[in-house]
């Protein structure tokens, strides 16, 4: 019988090897898998490629989320849309200690979805003719300039949902969804941390945002920081 529930975050990410490519859901601090990030930090995994909208986020003088991995020098490369959000990334970047692949946010979302949906590539106008479009195959469609974008996958996706059940069905809340449902589709192994574990059949099947087929492991997050008052 299938039961995707793991007892703790560390257990759910134990097989993540040095050099892994990992997608992290979240936008700023909303919808980030903070417990899986902490577990990965504790585990000491190195040389990872991070795919995420931001490399962590700053509130006042403190940096949260993925920033702990960057600060600790665990990340080889960042693929995302808005790295300016953290000072620790900026410092590493300026010292040439971390690689950056900058992707427009909508293209990032669409590339991840493309991987999950078996799309071999797609054309968008976003970035055509700009620095971010340079080197990409260009095509004129109905008078407008488009560039070809590639699907983007990963070894692991770490996502965060509000609720999840034993089959991996997930429900998000507010703007906590963001990249999470897309990343869940695009990785070899998807690990979801949730605030609440629901029993089999307890989630109305009409309200499920991520069907369990996209999720391999579910773990109840150990601790949720309250960043705002």
């Amino acid at each position: 019988m299938v039961n995707k529930i793991y007892r703790e975050s560390l257990e759910a990410i134990r097989d993540v090897k040095d050099g892994a490519v990992i997608m992290f859901g979240g936008f700023g601090l909303s919808g980030i898998p903070q417990n899986l990030i902490r577990a990965l930090y504790e585990q000491g995994t190195r040389d990872i490629t991070v795919i995420s909208n931001n490399p962590g986020s700053r509130l006042g003088d403190t940096e949260y989320g993925l920033a702990i991995l960057f600060k600790a020098g665990r990340v080889r490369k960042f693929i995302g849309s808005f790295p300016t959000a953290t000072k620790s990334f900026k410092e590493l970047y300026e010292q040439g200690k971390v690689e950056l692949e900058l992707v427009p946010q909508g293209t990032l979302a669409e590339r991840i979805r493309a991987k999950g949906a078996g799309i071999g590539g797609f054309y968008v106008r976003t970035g055509a003719g700009t620095l971010l479009g340079s080197g990409k195959e260009t095509r004129t469609i109905q008078g407008a300039r488009y560039i070809l974008e590639q699907p983007l996958g990963a070894d692991f996706a770490f996502v965060k949902a509000y609720r999840g059940d034993v089959y991996g069905n997930l429900v998000y809340r507010y703007t906590g969804a963001n990249f999470n449902p897309l990343m869940a589709m695009a990785a070899d192994i998807t690990v979801a941390e949730v605030e609440e574990v629901a029993g089999a059949g307890d989630i109305d099947p009409n309200t499920i945002h991520t069907p369990g087929i996209f999720v391999d492991r579910v773990v109840k997050g150990e601790r949720y920081d309250r960043w705002y008052e």
Binding site: F27, G28, L29, S30, G31, N53, S57, S81, F82, P83, T84, A85, K90, Y93, E94, L100, L102, V103, P104, Q105, G106, T107, L108, A109, E110, R113, V124, R125, T126, G127, A128, G129, T130, L131, L132, Y162, Y172, R173, Y174, T175, G176, A177, N178, F179, N180, P181, L182, H209, Y224, D225, R226, W227, Y228, E229
Partner: protein, 218 residues
């Protein structure tokens, strides 16, 4: 240097471009001030790229939820009729032409409506949703100070900053004036109180078409 309008007055003027029923994307920073100037007899849904259509305002103490933020990662509220959705749907709205208007900041705008607002030389680049917005949203209003802090023109003949999008800006609202981007180039539509057409020309590098009369923003 002439002060012209306050940021709030610029936001008030920008809000006048919002029609009943519009869905509007507001950029980070100054454009968010527009939220306060939408008259209550209009139904307007504000879109934030991270997955909310129907943003209310900034959350007050006690209202904030860690999973309810805007594009600037600030805690916000939502209005009746709002909806939440993932990033692919959010950018389908943007890129697919479903959003009526975007109001955003800029480093530079050229006379033909080219826009630079994502990075500069020597800066660590960040792009967010800017490049998606300029190709997908039909009407783009730039809201910015007319010049840089040290007085150099931001409205230029051609961009010296890396381009975000080509021929995408429809209107520029600065502290000094309102300019429309037309087939013939920039047209001066309105002046801030106490500002003359000559003042505007003095700190603009791009050519500006001068209609016989300019309205003063009231």
């Amino acid at each position: 240097m002439i002060a012209g309008m306050s940021e709030k007055d610029m936001a008030r003027r920008a809000a006048m471009e919002i029609r009943d029923g519009f869905c509007v994307n507001l950029g980070i920073g100054m454009p968010t001030l527009v939220l306060d100037f939408v008259p209550s007899d209009k139904t307007v849904f504000f879109h934030t790229e991270n997955g909310l259509l129907g943003m209310g305002g900034f959350a007050r103490k006690g209202e904030a939820h860690p999973d309810l933020v805007d594009a600037a990662k600030q805690p916000v509220t939502y209005v009746k009729g709002a909806s939440f959705f993932p990033s692919d749907v959010s950018f389908a709205m943007i890129r697919g032409g479903h959003i009526d208007l975007a109001i955003m900041g800029a480093y530079q705008v050229s006379g033909n409506g080219d826009l630079a607002n994502w990075t500069a030389q020597g800066m660590m680049p960040s792009v967010g949703g800017a490049m998606d917005i300029v190709v997908g949203i039909g009407k783009i209003i730039v809201m910015m100070m007319h010049t840089t802090k040290d007085g150099r023109p931001k409205i230029v003949k051609s961009l010296t900053y890396p381009v975000t999008g080509f021929r995408c800006v429809s209107m520029i609202i600065t502290n000094l004036c309102v300019l429309e981007v037309t087939e013939k180039g920039l047209v001066l539509k309105e002046l801030a109180p106490g500002v003359s057409a000559k003042d505007v020309l003095a700190c603009t590098e791009a050519d500006i078409v001068m209609p016989k009369e300019q309205k003063t923003i009231s």
